[in-house]
Symmetry: C2
Subunit: 236 residues, 2 copies
Amino acid sequence: MTLNTPKADTTNVTTESIANALSQAIHEHRLAPGTKLGEDELSDIYRVSRTMVRAALQSLSHQQIVEIKRNRGAFVAQPSLTEAHEVFEARELLEPRTARSAALHATPDDIVLLNDHITQEHAALAAGDRGRALYLSGQFHLEIARIAKQQTIADMINVLIARSSLIIALYWRRESALCESQAHHALINAIADNNGTLAEELMQSHLVDLHSALNLHELPPVKQNLKAMLSGDPTA
Amino acid sequence: MTLNTPKADTTNVTTESIANALSQAIHEHRLAPGTKLGEDELSDIYRVSRTMVRAALQSLSHQQIVEIKRNRGAFVAQPSLTEAHEVFEARELLEPRTARSAALHATPDDIVLLNDHITQEHAALAAGDRGRALYLSGQFHLEIARIAKQQTIADMINVLIARSSLIIALYWRRESALCESQAHHALINAIADNNGTLAEELMQSHLVDLHSALNLHELPPVKQNLKAMLSGDPTA
DNA sequence: GCGCACAATATTGTATACAATAAACTTCTT
DNA sequence: AAGAAGTTTATTGTATACAATATTGTGCGC
C-alpha cells in the first residue's frame, strides 16, 4: 500500500484528513481498484485508533470510491462497466449546463486559476508525475463547477469526478488518461468570453469524447483472446 | 422526539436500519428541521451502543438530511433558501431526462406500481396521515428514477428528494405539501404510452411548478407585513 | 498429491471506557 | 438585578476491549 506518508505531527489527524489522503491516493492511481484497505493497517499508518479509520472509510464509501463489504473489509471500489457508462452519462447531463453557468459567472481571477491548472498539469506531466496530472485534470472540471456557483450540483460532480478516476484506471485504453489539453483550453476561452452556449457545447462534446473512450471497451479484444484461448487450450 | 417505536426484537438492528428509520421519520416530517439527534438518546431508543448510532448519523449526514456539528451534536438539517433553490434546480436538470428514459423502459408492471403509489397516497391522506402521503409523493419520483434504469442518477435523485422534504418543511406555503395529483397522473400516462418527449416536458413543468412554490418566499408577504409592523410599532 | 476437517490466527463489528469539549448551573461582583 | 466567573454536568470524540466472522494454516485420510 502506497500512501502519502503522514506528517511527523499527528496531532491534527482527523477522519476528514484521513479520508482526503486516501481519496487523493485513489484519484492519483496510487491505490488501484480492488486494493484492500485494512483498518489495522491504516490505523498503524495514521497512528490513530480503528474508530477514526472506520469513519474515514465510511465517508469514502458514501463517495462510492470505496466499497465496504460486511465482515470482509473495505476495498477501493471497482465500478462495473455499466456503472462506468452511467457515471459519464450523468456527467454529460450535468457538466454542460455547469459550464454554461460558469461562463456567466466567471471572473478574471477564475480564468487565471483555470489556466494555472493546465500549467500545473503540464508541469506534473513533464516531471513524470502522471497521477498528479490526472488528479489535476479532474480538478479542472471541479473548478468549473465551483465557478458556476451551484454548490449542490458541484457536490454531485465532485463524486462523479472521483468515480471517473477509478473508471479510467479500469477501462481506459488511450495512451493518455488525461483530458485533451485543447478541449480544456477551448473551454477556458469560451468561459472567459462569457459565451455560455459555446461553453456548454464544448463541454458536451468533451464529455461525449471521454465517454467514447469507454465505449471501445464493450467489445474488448482481450476478452476475445481469452475466449479463444480457453476454447483451444484444455489445460485451462 | 417522535420516532418509529423499535420492534420488540432488536437482534436485527443495523446501522442501516437505524439510518432508514430516522430518514423516514425526517421524510414524513415527524422529525422537524433543527431537531437535536442525541447519540445517547438514540442508543437508548434503539438499544444499541453509541457506535452504531454514530455510524447511522454519519450516513444520514452524507445524505445531507442530518448536519453533524463537531463537539455539538447531530441535528436534522436546515437547508438555506439558497440550498432550496439549488436542490430544485438540480432536480429540474436531472428528472426530466429521467422521466424520458423511464417512458422508454417502463413495463406494464411499472405502470401498475406507479398507479398503486397514487392510490396509497390518497389512502394516507384520507386517513389523515399527511406525513405518509408526503413520503409516498416523493417515492413516486424515486420510482420513476428506478424505472429509468440509471442507478447513478437515481441515487442522486434519491438524495435530492430527501432534501426536498426538509425544504418543504421549511419553506412551503401552499395548502398541500404534496405534488399535484394531476401532474403525477399525466406523467404515468405519458410513461405508459412510451412517450418520452411528453414525459420529459411534463416532468419539467411539474418541477418548475414545485420550484415556484419556493420562489414565492423570496418576497414573502409575511416579511412585508413584519417590516410594516416593525416600522410602525416601537415595542419591537 | 489432493481434498477435507479442524484449529489457529487475523480482521471486522460492536460495546465500553476514558478524554475532551460544550452546556447548564451556581456563586460572586458590581 | 444583571453580568461575569467558576463549577458541575452532559455530551461528543476517540481509544480500547470483547465478540463475531472470515481467512489461513495444519494434519489426516484417501
